[in-house]
């Protein structure tokens, strides 16, 4: 077993807005091992991106705050890092690939200059060396005519190309971990697979860990060693990918897996959806967040917040009806109601 790189425990990040406290992340726990890939899945607003922003400590100033929990990266507590240490942590230890490649590059600087700037910020090299490294990295991510591209502005490239540039920039500093926040959502379908493959290749080559945030369960199956399911800011289930797909335990995960279109489905069949809407994040925290949409809900579910428990080694779930002694089986008649 390889060692742990990142351990997040009971992370709570709240947004303090004029209309109340929004519990964007309200109890997220997971562990990412060296060289592995973990997927975070969940619908929009479930706290995926806020979790990522919390890990690199880039929350909107004044409004967003980590109120509880620990983020342990190779023995350092990220929450306690000072400004200077954070600069070395971001970019060097951990690189982030954002959803929209067009807005994650500075539009008014040439690509080459941006890459050189970042390399020089983290490594003790001259500008010429940095330039060479940048060209090398561009070549590695499969950008044709890298020297020429160094002189391009971001708007002169396609979305897929930009995302490659960002990946090149990320790998330049050989980070221990890459956070990919929906890296393919803004791209054409044909380019999506290429970008993911590229990520995987680089991971194999450099033994980097990847935290992949997505709402595409197919991508998770293909890329990830472990998966965490987030719902309304809370970890509801967390296991290795095979287990989660083979034996999902949380009713929300069931719904999520069902709502995935399958090739085997009849062409005209309707997509399965989970009825209802997620709760307002300003009002959560008094019961199971899935209570109003859960077909298996019991009285207790509406009164207590379920703890995240390890039902089997490596398989965590937060549901009142799932624990070591008591197993809820899918499709079971909801007798207690």
């Amino acid at each position: 077993m390889s060692e742990n790189l990142l351990t997040v425990k009971d992370l709570k990040t709240y947004f303090f807005t004029a209309s109340g406290v929004s519990k964007a992340v309200d109890g997220v726990s997971f562990t990412l091992k060296k060289g592995e890939t973990m997927g975070i899945v969940g619908e929009s607003g479930s706290g995926k991106s806020v979790t990522a922003s919390s890990i690199i400590r880039l929350l909107p100033p004044k409004i967003g705050r980590i109120v509880e929990g620990t983020i342990d990266f190779e023995g350092k507590d990220i929450i306690k890092l000072n400004k200077k240490e954070l600069l070395n942590f971001r970019g060097k230890d951990i690189a982030v690939i954002f959803q929209d490649p067009m807005t994650s590059l500075d539009p008014v600087f040439k690509i080459g200059n941006q890459m050189v700037e970042m390399i020089c910020a983290h490594q003790d090299v001259s500008k010429e060396e940095a330039r060479k490294m940048a060209v090398e990295a561009l070549k590695k991510v499969g950008i044709p005519q890298p020297e020429k591209r160094m002189e391009s502005y971001p708007y002169e490239l396609s979305g897929g190309m930009c995302q490659r540039v960002i990946i090149a920039m990320a790998v330049c500093c050989k980070p221990k971990m890459v956070i990919a926040d929906e890296p393919t959502t803004a791209l054409d379908v044909t380019v999506q697979a290429q970008v993911l493959e590229l990520l995987q290749e680089l991971q194999d080559e450099m033994d980097t860990s990847i935290l992949l945030i997505t709402h595409n369960l197919g991508v998770v199956w293909k890329m990830c060693d472990t998966v965490m399911v987030l719902y309304a800011g809370k970890t509801v289930e967390y296991a290795d990918t095979k287990t989660l797909y083979a034996q999902p335990l949380h009713p929300y995960t069931w719904g999520l897996l069902d709502s995935m279109p399958k090739l085997s489905d009849t062409v005209k069949g309707e997509l399965n959806t989970i009825p209802g809407v997620p709760p307002d994040l300003r009002l959560t925290g008094n019961c199971c967040n899935f209570y109003n949409r859960c077909p298996y809900a019991q009285e207790r579910c509406g009164k207590e917040v379920p703890e995240l428990v390890e039902v089997e080694p490596g398989h965590f779930v937060a549901c009142h009806r799932q624990n070591k002694e008591n197993k809820l089986v899918r499709g079971e008649e909801n007798r207690n109601e």
Partner: protein, 320 residues
Amino acid sequence: MLKTIVKRILQSIPTLLIVVTFTFILTRMIPGNPALTMLGPQAPKESVEQLEEELGLNKSKGEQYVIYLKQILKGDFGRSYSYNQSVVELIKERIPNTLVITLTSLLIALVLGMIVGIVSAVRQYSILDYIFMVLALIGVSMPIFWLGLMLVLVFSVNLGWLPAMGMGSMAKGVWDVVSHMILPCFCLSTIPMATFARITRSSMLEVVNNDAVKALRARGLREGVVIWKHALKNALPPIVTVLGLQLASAFTGAILTESIFSWPGMGTLIVSAIDNRDYALIQGVVLFTAIVFVVINLIVDIVYTVINPRVSYESGKGGN
């Protein structure tokens, strides 16, 4: 990019033509007979008529317009009767004086205003931000000539530290030149400074909160680099636009400032031209200023294309 620039240059030609025509119409509308004004009310009828013929005033308005256009193309702006000098010469004489105080003031205003704006944006809602923004608002709300009078009152009349009138001469040393410039420049730079501070703040705020800046921070770049290099360059376009507008209004400000501090520039020239009903001079100065304006706007637009490469890319957004 070149295409945008050429298009912009071509666009300003009709504007120039309109400016030239407006000036002609407006100056012809000023009441009173220029020939009569020049010679005085007691002048004999014959000499008035003779002068009218010399000036081409007895020709039809259409002919006058054609002659006027021809003269302008030749760079001839006519002759000022009150100074008894050619208008072009007068402008040539005065324009450096105006440029000295306008450009110095604008430079001071731009640098200080931008610093204030950036600091305010970075520390949004802090006490410093509030103080700066209240001061900036007072700055843009002040009539410039009142500020000038108050400066004279405090620093010349009451404290006696600085001269209130005229321009210093190098013969009396550098301090003489500088001391004469302090008050006019202070006066002239206040409003643009406040404007720059306000626009820089709002433009920076827009940039600082966007995704690109978040991505830059995620790269582990120092906050100084993120703000002063990346965010600032992204925030520049509106500031450049305002710089263009300020160049224009600084000239207006100069007219008033000069008349308060008796600074021998274009401002005092036009005021005296109006007082003397010196039509050729009024027409010349107005025309000259307007042409300068069109050219400044043109330059601003070109600079805009250069600092913001997206403009020429998203074609058509370069002009107005």
